[in-house]
Symmetry: C2
Subunit: 355 residues, 2 copies
Amino acid sequence: MAKQVKIKDIAQMAGVSVGTVDRVLHNRGNVSEKSLKAIEQVLSEVGYKYNIHTSAISLRKEYKIAIAIPTAIQGEYWGAIQDGIMHAINEYSDVKLDCRFFFYNQFDIYSCRSSFASIIDQRPEAVIIGPTFKSETQRLCAELDANRIPYVFVDAVIEGTSPVASYSTDQFTCGRLLGRLLRISAPKDAEFAIMSSQRIGNERSNNSLERRKGFIGYFRDNGMEKNVKETSFSVFDPAESEKKVMRFLKENPGIKGMAVMNSRGYILAEILKANNVQDISLVSFDLTLNNIKGIEDGNISAILCQRPELQGFHALKSLIKSLLYNQEAETVHHIMPIDIIVKENLPYYREFFEM
Amino acid sequence: MAKQVKIKDIAQMAGVSVGTVDRVLHNRGNVSEKSLKAIEQVLSEVGYKYNIHTSAISLRKEYKIAIAIPTAIQGEYWGAIQDGIMHAINEYSDVKLDCRFFFYNQFDIYSCRSSFASIIDQRPEAVIIGPTFKSETQRLCAELDANRIPYVFVDAVIEGTSPVASYSTDQFTCGRLLGRLLRISAPKDAEFAIMSSQRIGNERSNNSLERRKGFIGYFRDNGMEKNVKETSFSVFDPAESEKKVMRFLKENPGIKGMAVMNSRGYILAEILKANNVQDISLVSFDLTLNNIKGIEDGNISAILCQRPELQGFHALKSLIKSLLYNQEAETVHHIMPIDIIVKENLPYYREFFEM
DNA sequence: CTGTTAGCGCATTCAC
DNA sequence: GTGAATGCGCTAACAG
């Protein structure tokens, strides 16, 4: 229980006033070489620790924060990210924030483009980005970099950018994990299907592709590459999808597991259920309301979840720290844990908000 | 982005001074009926939200907190709980705390008794309890209740007590989940073993018993009660354990999965590995260093984890709130999520500290 | 360049 | 019973 050393203490030890210490801590210049040295000396000896909250109350400034993510629907993936952000706003309510959401349609590059453009117009002091379109994001980030506006990524990372932090999942490993979950619960010679949703614009396409690679890689590593089949279904045309999937299963009777590389597992759950297919394990992503129902009803065996609330929470938290401490820090990439959710452990994931 | 309403605002609206509002908020009396009414009226209208941190800095008081848990070893279960507590101390460093750990030997009731006795002597203002011995805990809690000292439970809940909050896991469901994990990855006629560690004093005995019940219940529900076998092993005598386990496996050649109802899975992993047993899945509890190694080496198939850091973190957090707000609130029992950890998702659980 | 000072939201003491 | 005043750790404006 070492006592926290305060700015006043440091000032005293360094033989200067609190004002000068404050200037050093926020490196906003106008400090003599001599004072600087003295203060840095003391700082390195005693290990000063900032107090965000007292700092925040004394700070009269209100920060404008822009949040650029795909349209968030309650009970779905981006809705959970939004929940996490709201939670952080609440937890750091002493930091005065003016948060604005700039939702865009993740399947419409034009919507993304115009959304990003209006962000620049708003001149925010910090930005949270849920990136979908690569070059649009890069363009936005270049602009932000030029204006020294800090930003963080949630869900995924875009190369060629320099965020304060990022919160994402190792999608490749997700794919491998999916492979493992299906394989261990099936006979040795079983076949497995990758179900991709055919959709113009490609839903979180990069993520799905990585997952697919991991999935195939897993079976390749186990000498079972030939056991992996692949087909697609439509999100919008259930009847057509049903026909297609059932035809696929008839042609591939060895299929014992299906992996849906996005959050649309529930659609296939409905199809399998309607056709009384019992011996196929279904795995998918994200704890959406539909998928929750699928698990509860026993039509989905497992869901992988990437802690979207936590991503949102920490995204805002790290931005706040960046704004208040104002220091040039290295980018920190955080890889979220991958939760495996099945019928038994489902209830407690829903209930407990994890911060 | 509704503006936070402050005490000053409330005072103004109610036509009184901040002092009076404060008296009401902390219900420490000396307020006229009329003022009280007025303030409560305003409060119910605007929904005032406390700010712990500003509250904490203005509060000169230092709180004594006693933490009574089994001896915490880094990298093991109680060590992780301690980590979470330390994390909370750090996160709420503006609240002045004098935290003292009162470790006790969870296999020695006398050590527990003397530890609990010294807590009472210390006259702490709040207590975190990791309960092992039922009546010892009940006695401590009765004493705390009598002195109106708030306390919270981690890991488990003891009946006949009235904590501020508790953070524990549904052990019965853990057992069921273990059953499921083993069953789905084995042939239909496979047999499964409950491995209990025979140890005087019974390691977290209640938890193990609940898990066992859940495990057996799961197989009963699936009409496979007869497929469940049971044996025990010693933590202290590896050679003897090895003999015993291998004999058991010879006598029960149908065994395809083993469930260790505590954190000692790694011991069996070593035995299986040493004897080149490959076709038996091993599942156990808690992300201890030994178990992590077992997963990495492929000798343990899965570990169930009950977020010990999070338990510790929230335990202290809720105590802090209880101390600062000083309101008689209902007990809140929190059931932690049960994480399933396998080789693929292991790395990211270790890395990401989840608050 | 530097020290002083007022003020942030809140708790508490102390006159009235 | 009540309100004014002081201080908590910190920031920033201001006067030197």
